[in-house]
Symmetry: C2
Subunit: 240 residues, 2 copies
């Protein structure tokens, strides 16, 4: 495959690939915990909140529940984790505000400059399970220069359901291989490849903290494998 | 209403309000007509193509036809107009290329600088009947700094159907009045107001050429009435 000729658009996994969700959530959770549960570690809390993420989407992927945007699932999952720690007494508005931690995540240091380089040559858009408003707030705060907000809410399904990838190919009016998914997660890339998309693995070995054991390396012959998004831009022949 | 406090996002009609579709389509149609029908005026052809726009969407608004993106409707409408002029012999690929004239429209001179001003204070996005790829191509070529691509394809309905406005309010997680539609068309604003949105009229008295008779003025007490988008940014208190 001569990917430099074929690829017309790059879509990105966001949580973990473009932004560092764990540090960002822990940062916003810390002052809340200081008030309500000073014995709970903010990173542990972030990990617990994140662990509810996939099961909550599975209800929708399986068809047991109609499409519900991630802001709502995050809020429900937050209440679960709070209750598990016996944290009560926070006002609804305070819980609402904490739920927006996912809108305020910082990008990995290479993300913003690399996206500006990639945007000159390709359509660039998130292909995240995050809802549109979450992605817009994050992008405005962090300066992520997306051309569009694509992903779960546009197709009303959650990755790795095939309709997320195939529906996005159709929206962009491309052949599947002309669209490349960029992700730090082998499972996401495998699902995209099953739909015919091109694939780029970007290593994010500290997404889950210093003791991460998953997705440390590319586990298949993805079309591109890069140490960060600038390295990917180099491989795609983008000017620096 | 103190709109400066309430409004959080501005969504824009695009064809006519942000870009000059008539000049852009005529420019791309001219070399095609020179080859196949030198007696046909390019502006007349643009007007005829545009006249098929609303009836083709009405099939979908009425429920007689499932949602079909505007690129497809534009292509069907183009074939109609070509056939009406007895123009035959153009290759399919040539007709496809001409259909993309709508992806290559130039913004009115005030649009790009004003959108940069407005983007600092508000979420800015198109709320157009144009499909996502059309809006992305147009924005990349013209430098329109949208925060997201909203509109017909995201909600799978065409303006002025109420679900386009109300569905967008819901996606953005806003109260209806926190979302303001900016449009050069009184009918679009009236439909938005019926859904509770705030409204801004921007005059585009030459959208339909030098003899325009419609939408020359605001026909209701819209929340904002401006001569162009920079004037609207002034009224909304945006820095220049």
């Amino acid at each position: 495959m001569n990917a430099r000729i074929e690829i017309k658009a790059l879509v990105f996994d966001v949580f973990g690939t473009v932004v560092d969700w764990r540090s960002g959530v822990a940062r916003d959770v810390a002052p809340f915990l200081k008030r309500y549960a000073p014995h709970v570690d903010a990173f542990d809390f972030a990990d617990q909140w994140r662990r509810e993420y996939s099961p909550s989407m599975e209800e929708i992927r399986s068809g047991r529940r109609p499409y519900t945007r991630l802001d709502v699932l995050h809020r429900e999952n937050l209440v679960k984790v709070l209750s598990r720690h016996g944290i009560a007494g926070a006002a609804e508005a305070e819980v609402d505000a904490l739920n927006l931690a996912w809108h305020r995540l910082d990008p990995w240091p290479d993300a913003v400059p690399a996206l500006h380089r990639l945007k000159r040559e390709f359509i660039v858009a998130p292909l995240s399970n995050g809802n549109i408003r979450l992605m817009v707030d994050m992008a405005k705060r962090a300066g992520l220069p997306w051309d569009a907000i694509l992903g779960a809410e546009v197709v009303r399904a959650y990755k790795p359901s095939p309709q997320v990838y195939s529906g996005t190919v159709e929206i962009l009016g491309l052949a599947p291989a002309e669209l490349c998914l960029v992700a730090a997660h082998n499972g996401d890339l495998a699902a995209a490849r099953r739909c015919g998309l091109s694939t780029a693995f970007v290593a994010r070995p500290t997404e889950h903290g210093p003791h991460q054991t998953t997705d440390l390396n590319a586990q298949a012959d993805w079309d591109f494998v890069a140490g960060d998004l600038n390295e990917l831009a180099d491989q795609l022949g983008c000017a620096s």
